[in-house]
């Protein structure tokens, strides 16, 4: 058991020696893998950030209904009852036109102007809090309310945030497709690196087989190499994104300053970072495994 662990440790040390043996080629490989991974992961980071803003701004959805000016009190109380009984509505608030006018007078300092009006120009209004949160059901409810008599204007607040959400869903799919394609690229890069290594170590593999090396023994250093290359490539992607975010945040600070808000783009969370490294290491291992199973059996001593 102990000797097995020592053997693995020796292979790991040997793997890093091999990476350092050709520093130029290794670095180039890591940069290529890093860039390939940073594209989808960077996209994911951007989406996460945008999603954060939209959630912050959307809050709970509301539908405002403005009634026609000639609506009678009887009709209003009937609507109120009907709305309360509506299955898609959680609860409602009623904003009477007189109250709205008073609030306007108090809050905006337009008392003089409003005092000069001969009649109240504001309509009565319902503020409706729906049960459902998703865009489709909200829009369905809005269209339903629009068809009611005397409901002159129906407005779905924060509908833009929901449209954004739909757009994000689309973008997320695009990022996913990109990630899938570039994962294949990573596998291909590792596959080829390992293939070249196997070819240059043909003699060593042949001799090892002759003196009793198992396939597992011969395979192991290549698998570790693929794993290490994937892992370090993932780390390179993480760094590329970190540097890009620093640059973006720097110029973003100037922009948000103008709007008197502060907003910064944040990097991957700890668990997402670990997932990135784990996934890239796995892809590297997979590429190496495919390459080894493809090429190793061709080398048999003669």
């Amino acid at each position: 058991m102990k000797s097995a662990i020592l053997q693995h440790l020796r292979v790991i040390r040997f793997t890093f020696q091999r990476l350092l043996h050709t520093p130029g080629a290794s670095l180039l490989n890591l940069i290529v893998i890093g860039i390939a991974l940073s594209l989808p992961v960077g996209g994911y980071v951007m989406l996460k950030n945008i999603q954060g803003i939209s959630e912050q701004m959307a809050g709970t959805p509301q539908i405002s209904v403005f009634l026609a000016l000639d609506t009678s009190q009887d009709e209003i109380s009937r609507f109120r009852k009907q709305l309360k009984e509506h299955a898609a509505i959680d609860h409602i608030e009623f904003a009477p036109r007189d109250l709205a006018l008073k609030q306007l007078q108090l809050s905006t300092g337009l008392a003089d102007v409003i005092g000069g009006l001969t009649q109240n120009p504001l309509p009565d209004a319902f503020i409706i809090y729906p049960v459902a949160m998703d865009v489709q059901k909200l829009e369905l409810l809005r269209d339903d309310l629009k068809s009611w008599p005397k409901f002159e204007h129906v407005q779905l607040d924060s509908s833009w945030a929901y449209k954004l959400e739909a757009l994000l869903k689309f973008a997320r799919l695009a990022v996913l497709i990109l990630a899938a394609m570039l994962s294949f690229a990573l596998i291909a890069i590792t596959f080829n690196t390992i293939r070249l290594q196997i070819l240059t170590q043909r003699e060593e593999i042949e001799v090892s087989k002759l003196i009793g090396a198992t396939n597992g023994f011969i395979r192991r250093p290549f698998l570790y190499f693929g794993l290490a290359q994937g892992l370090l490539g993932g780390a390179a992607a993480w760094l590329i994104i970190a540097i890009s975010l620093q640059l973006l945040n720097y110029s973003l600070a100037n922009l948000t300053h103008l709007y008197a808000t502060s907003f910064t783009l944040s990097h991957l969370s700890l668990s997402d970072s670990i997932s990135l490294l784990g996934f890239s290491a796995y892809l590297g291992w997979l590429g190496a495994w495919l390459s080894v199973s493809q090429h190793l059996w061709q080398i048999e001593p003669r």
Partner: protein
């Protein structure tokens, strides 16, 4: 130890390298394999090391039938055999010491124990002082001895040597044969292929003579 019964080996393309071969080598025996080049000496050694498989007949090595040996069992058979090649098959990207270390690494030996064994093997073939040299810096005779050190470091019970003195002058050949003789004395089974008549006279032992793939004695 090694038992062949009506073994045939036909290569793809129809060339019949070995025909109807039957012989037995007992444990601890030293046997020569003689014949001209092309007589099938190398093929016979390759069959014993399971580098090639017989076309028909049974070839039993240390109780294992080579013909039906599973790929996964093959490395463990070879660990019991010490192979010595005419072209040495040394690795030139590492020192003499590391070349001899390789079989022990493959078997997963403890590093300190291995180092002791490697030095003992190098000492046995008289190369202890050259342990740090790259094999490319060694002479032909020294390379052959390094190959022997690598074959014996794992303490195999059988040594197979393919023309070990093939490219060497008489003095070096004598040295190498003396090394083999000392292994024979401690009970190692030896099969040495050679076309050098003087060796047979100097170090007499049973000989299997091959001619065009057939045993002639």
């Amino acid at each position: 130890m090694i038992k062949f019964n009506q073994v045939y080996k036909r290569y793809p393309g129809g060339h019949e390298a070995l025909k109807n071969l039957s012989f037995e080598i007992a444990e601890g025996e030293m046997v020569y394999l003689t014949g001209h080049s092309g007589a099938g000496k190398s093929t016979l050694l390759k069959l014993i090391a399971a580098i090639e498989r017989p076309t028909s007949g049974s070839a039993i090595v240390k109780g294992q039938n080579i013909k039906s040996l599973k790929g996964s069992a093959l490395p463990y058979l070879r660990r019991n055999l010490g192979l010595i090649f005419q072209d040495h098959k040394l690795l030139f990207d590492r020192s003499a010491f590391e070349n001899v270390m390789l079989p022990l690494q493959i078997c997963g030996f403890d590093h300190r124990e291995s180092a002791k064994r490697v030095r003992a093997a190098l000492d046995k073939v008289g190369l202890l002082k050259r342990e740090k040299s790259n094999p490319i810096a060694l002479s032909g005779g020294e390379q052959q001895r390094l190959c022997i050190a690598r074959a014996i470091v794992n303490r195999p019970s059988v040594l197979l040597a393919d023309e070990p003195t093939g490219n060497l002058d008489t003095e070096y050949s004598g040295e190498i044969m003396n090394i083999f003789k000392s292994f024979h004395q401690v009970g190692v089974t030896l099969l040495i292929s050679t076309h050098d008549e003087s060796i047979l006279r100097q170090f007499p032992a049973r000989a299997l003579a091959l001619k065009a793939g057939e045993l002639v004695i």
